[in-house]
Amino acid sequence: MQRQDRRWRLIAIAMMVFATLVLAACGDDEEETSDEPDVEVEEFPADTTMGEIQEAGEINLGVKFDVPPFGFNNPQSGEVEGFDVDLGRYIAARLGVEPVFREANSDNRIPLLVDGTIDLILSTMTITEERDLEIDFSEPYYVANGDVLVPTDSDIASLEDLAGNTVCTAIGSTYQSTIKDEVPDAELRLVDGYSECLELIQTDAVDAVSTDNVILTGMVIQDDTLELLDLDYTEEPYGVGIPDGDAEMKEFVDESVTQFIDDGTWQETYDEWVGQYIPEEQQQGPPEITLDEALALFPLEK
């Protein structure tokens, strides 16, 4: 009798462990879905990166999970959504493979691409010459502008006002050095992700957050006690991160970006994620800047 009790207890424990594992697997930092954009699938030779991806049947895309409206984990649907995610789906659809979205923030996205964990970076990444040393960039697919976010009751009204105040931005972002150059007297708080900056400004632990306006707009949508200063003090063209030296992959991604813009998908995606949240006079069209012009905006320091 007692032995039987013990056996049941063992089974119960085993089931609990199993259930925990299943739940943990569900909460894994990757998402798969299948509502594919309507594009033609191109077949690639097996010896190209695209061919290998088609062989595997899935493409690993590094996106942000905490930056609405570009890449964020929607708590309601449980899926990652946003502009970057939609562009990722578009690229995956052109290959006829499943997109697998993996979390990649400003600090770890390039290492993840270099070590092959992800095939492409779509993570609100500004094109810079320094990053270009380690990876390749596609043609720009979006142009964001540098801006500053403050509480509505703040005295900060210009870039110069940041002097003597604490400013939050992400470690590894372009703003890390931009703010140091523009306002040397500002005290920088460097965190891993922008959701942490939001937490810090909501608790008044920092006086301002500075990064791309689209990221900051996402924060204002979440919390209306915050506002943008509309300074547009930098121009930040986003590019898709491609493994260094993979010319065929770069050609394919460039074609994808061009097609994404030309067939109107860009505009639809823009309206869905950005356009509807900002006044008409602030809205913009697809980027007109080229990759070379973008690189010249963030040259190497030396």
């Binding site: 320094e130 891993d192 810090l200 608790t203 632990a205």
Partner: protein, 219 residues
């Protein structure tokens, strides 16, 4: 190798300021940890049940919460509750109070190493309990636990990296190294971070070795 050296010389100011911040965090947390740890240990060996229980609860609470969680509660939690605690205060307090729980346990074990007869003798000579503890028991207890305290302080030096890596975002050695790494794309930045922490932990080791030989229990 020359690359790594150049990285250090070109960014020496940033590395040094990071090391200085880490050293200050560690120094303040050390004082908090020693004071609170000794107090809690005194509570735990006190002849009053209520005090013993308070000491016990302290140790269990601070030893069983991950440091990162403790820091988030102390910083974001306290700020959300309306008290504008600074990242610096929250960081040093969190690290100090966390380490204090371990130090209390170490000192308590040291107190037990002092023969019960000594306390009884002190009390029967007319010393009050706190006085007996301060004059007779704790000095001997500290001697026996110096090596253990050394290990705990070394652990604290290393745990200080969590303070900088967390939401508190203090510009400590690890944070500065990460900034340098992201700006130069040179992973060697972390080697220099490791060297900086080694510098601090070796200093702690040397300090405690000295204390050990100086106050060694002669047998």
């Amino acid at each position: 190798m020359t690359d790594a050296l150049n990285l250090l010389t070109e960014n020496f100011g940033d590395f040094a300021s990071g090391l200085w911040v880490t050293a200050r965090i560690v120094a303040v947390a050390f004082v908090i940890a020693m004071v609170v740890g000794t107090l809690v240990a005194a509570f735990r060996v006190a002849p009053v049940k209520a005090l013993q229980r308070i000491g016990g609860v302290y140790v269990e609470v601070f030893r069983n919460i991950p440091l990162l969680v403790l820091l988030l509660i102390l910083f974001i939690g306290v700020r959300r509750a309306g008290l504008p605690i600074s990242a610096w205060v929250a960081g040093t307090m969190g690290l100090g109070l966390y380490t204090a729980a371990y130090i209390a346990e170490a000192i308590r074990s040291g107190v037990f190493a002092v023969g019960k007869g000594q306390i009884e003798a002190a009390l029967s000579l007319g010393l009050t309990y706190p006085r007996a503890l301060r004059r007779i028991v704790l000095p001997q207890a500290f001697r026996t636990v110096i090596p253990t305290l050394g290990s705990l302080i070394i652990a604290m030096v290393k745990n200080s990296a969590i303070v900088g890596a967390s939401l508190l975002a203090l510009p400590d050695l690890l944070k500065e190294s990460r900034v340098i790494q992201s700006e130069t794309a040179q992973t060697e930045a972390f080697l220099w971070a490791a060297a900086g922490y080694l510098l601090l932990t070796i200093s702690v080791t040397v300090l405690f070795r000295r204390l050990e030989t100086r106050y060694a229990v002669r047998r």
